[in-house]
Symmetry: C2
Subunit: 313 residues, 2 copies
């Protein structure tokens, strides 16, 4: 099939194929992205993050459905290895998810653990870019928000929703060191459970303590399973979108992301160059020498780079 034409015509099979090709680093995919790059930049990116078990996927599903019902096109990128999309679903969830998979306005992609150069953040970035080119109005990036790389991925979002649930009191305590700061909208999901008000109060107290920014994050109670509170969340996202677009935050963040994207691509490109110049035996022999203590990793790295540097003096 003609992938490029498929993308322009809104063909979802073409979209899925282009993402796979791009993840595999195929030149054909890169050429298509380059040619269609001017179509990108219109999608609004929403990060969904929070610890495992708080119902992030159900919430994402509910929000995506809301936007879809309004006629918006929605992409979902699931970076959470514990997400139902990636195989960890309990039955009830899975049925809910299946509805999503058949919605013509919604396209879901789950990120495998492609552990090579660039890794998850690179794959997520490219997938988001392709969905943007494809014409998605909203792109959800769902991550499990407790680790460093997850913070980096969440940082690709224009608005980040931090999802928590009642009974995570200790976690909120523990998480305050840096992680909570990435939330622009806080959702206390499963608010039909005991302790939802307490959790909401704890978040507010923490926000009082951290209050440095002109944007005061919203704290919203929701029960995604029952579709309760979802409209309050989309309203809060809308308010945050308005806020960042009226200030210079939106544009400066976009610039920062593009800079990171360029640097990532440059790094990967130069390392592919180096690897393709280096015979596999030579790399193995350098590794062996380092393991044996005949050389050290810094000298080994220099040794790998030598051919490139010799010629570039």
């Amino acid at each position: 099939m003609d992938i490029k034409r498929g993308i322009i015509e809104g063909n979802r099979v073409a979209l899925a194929k282009l993402i796979t090709m791009a993840e595999d680093g195929r030149q054909e995919a890169i050429d298509i992205i380059r040619e269609l790059y001017g179509k990108s930049g219109l999608a609004y990116i929403i990060g969904i993050t929070g610890p495992p078990g708080v119902g992030k996927s159900t919430l994402t599903a509910g929000l995506a459905k809301m936007y879809s019902d309004l006629g918006k096109r929605v992409g979902i990128i699931a970076c959470d290895p514990t997400s139902p999309y990636t195989g960890g679903a309990i039955l009830g969830d899975r049925i809910r998810m299946q509805k999503l998979f058949t919605d013509p306005n919604i396209f879901i992609r789950s990120m495998g653990s492609r552990g090579h150069l660039g890794g998850l953040s690179m794959s997520t970035r490219i997938t988001s870019r392709i969905m943007d080119i494809f014409g998605m109005d909203y792109i959800f990036i769902e991550t499990v928000g407790v680790g460093q790389s997850e913070v980096e991925i969440a940082d690709m979002a224009d608005t980040t929703i931090m999802v928590l649930a009642p009974g995570l009191g200790d976690d909120i305590q523990a998480m305050k060191a840096g992680i909570m700061e990435i939330g622009n909208v806080f959702v206390v999901n499963k608010c039909d459970r005991d302790g939802a008000d307490k959790t909401a109060r704890e978040i507010e107290a923490m926000l009082d303590f951290n209050d440095k920014s002109a944007w005061r994050p919203k704290v919203i109670k929701a029960a995604a399973q029952a579709d309760e509170g979802l409209d309050n969340i989309t309203n809060a996202v809308g308010e945050h979108e308005k806020y960042i677009k009226e200030s210079d935050i939106f544009m400066s963040k976009r610039k920062e992301h593009i800079k990171e994207e360029i640097m990532e691509l440059a790094t990967n490109s130069i390392m592919s160059d180096i690897m393709s110049r280096l015979p596999k035996d030579e790399l193995n022999s350098i590794v062996d020498k380092t393991v044996n203590g005949e050389t050290d990793p810094y000298s080994a790295a220099n040794c790998i780079l030598k051919p490139l540097r010799d010629r570039s003096v």
Copy 2:
């Protein structure tokens, strides 16, 4: 102070300084690591991972204390942003931690979020290498084991302990997609709480399901707060150490790690080269052009690499 001499003489202040210098990428630190590199390779690396709130830090503290009491030297690298070491402690924990800080056999380093090239995995790798050179017998790397980068970090360990707690049933279900596979020893911590047996059974059932390896992971109940079950854990770690050293796993893993270390160093080195050759204005101008749609990120990356490539043809 003479850092190199300090490291050789076992001075902890020198150790702290060398780690900071290395994280900052200072040539002086690199030279010392290169000169002393032959001293490394003797430390046994133990990964401690698991979701927030299961008591990983308390467990690490207890295990470190046990090894210290046996006269072993122990390094702790805390990569978990929710860890008590990094500021998220509740009071009881903090007192416990303070005992650790004054133990002359134990050295604790918490990893900030150094978000530049290389990132957390790079900092962790270097810190671990320096502690190894310093003469630590055991190095604990504590991560919150639910994200991609955490899996990568845990993978630096010789033995990985996956910590869980009762009442995480749903999480275990959800986590089975890939994340659980990194555990060589499973600990059900807080085993004085209801449901510990159930959690242990669920883990065993999952292990039955996944049983592909010659090493059947141990499942151990513990209550780190009360120092219960810690000896069972160190015994299990010892058995796993014996197993990987008798098979070729230990050596092939070490080789794999050193290969990754070399590649990381080479990548960082070449990117520093490129950045130092590139005037800051030029990078900003390329970013602006990409944001405006005058060019695309792939062409921008090529543009950045052009000076290097032109000279290296």
